[in-house]
């Protein structure tokens, strides 16, 4: 797959590994859009490499939908990440603990958005008979674990399947060889407490 004239969206591409990747993609002729929060760093990248830039927080689902809808990337690179605050446990806040979790949810938002967009071009049907929507390929740099990526993608498949009036659950499972749940987080019901059948009945007072 030649990268020449391919549309690529890189999150967190204003510095570090993301910037190195943007430089490499530009050198190979790709049309790159960089998404990051720091407007000054983005301006520097735009001036130096001639890429399109968007100043946005990718954990914002609205922004994610807008970015994917506007640029219709062939390749999506999920690189943005938050550096967790380190310190003694009793000195860390809940926000410190959940920062990296929120960071991972960015990928979920972006991928779900890709599923909601109309197909940019006709694609080969998947084994389960579901036509892919959104970007052709996704590269997740470090932050997404295998299990999360599966869950994210299944959420997207379910979305596409239900839109095409297929039985979404079975269609997702057919195309899946993993053992993890195919239910997107947004559709996951709140956990309920149930008493195990072997547990003794509560004492009545």
């Amino acid at each position: 797959m030649s990268l020449k004239d391919k549309s690529v969206v890189v999150t967190g591409g204003s510095r570090g590994l993301g910037l190195g990747l943007v430089e490499a993609l530009v050198a190979h002729g790709a049309r790159v859009t960089v998404v990051a929060r720091d407007a000054d760093a983005l301006a520097s990248v735009r001036a130096r490499l001639g890429v399109a830039t968007i100043s946005a927080d990718v954990t914002d689902e609205t922004a994610a939908h807008r970015i994917l809808g506007e640029f219709r990337p062939d390749i999506l690179v999920l690189n943005a990440g938050a550096k967790p605050r380190m310190g003694r446990l009793d000195q860390l806040s809940w926000a410190d603990f959940t920062a990296t979790v929120g960071d991972r949810r960015q990928g979920r938002a972006l991928l779900a958005a890709g599923g909601a967009q109309p197909a940019a071009q006709a694609r080969k049907p998947r084994p389960g008979g579901i036509e892919r929507r959104g970007p052709e390929r996704i590269a997740a740099l470090g932050r997404l674990c295998r299990r999360q990526a599966h869950a994210l993608d299944h959420g997207r498949l379910r979305q596409s399947a239900s839109r095409s009036r297929r039985t979404s659950g079975s269609a997702s499972r057919r195309s899946c060889r993993c053992r993890w749940s195919a239910i997107p987080a947004s559709a996951t019901p709140a956990p309920t407490r149930t008493r195990a059948p072997w547990a003794s009945s509560p004492k009545s007072s």
């Binding site: 190979h28 390749i75 052709e136 390929r137 590269a139 470090g142 990526a149 599966h150 993608d153």
Partner: protein, 41 residues
Amino acid sequence: MPPREFGEKVVSVLDDPQYAEGFAFGFKGDTGVTILEGAAA
């Protein structure tokens, strides 16, 4: 690995016919390239 070198590594995977059937890839320093979905040729 310097950022630019890492970028070239990712590009080489995206450009490699061996990974043409892959859809989602994971890149980590300790595990290398993982095909999260799709099959390698």
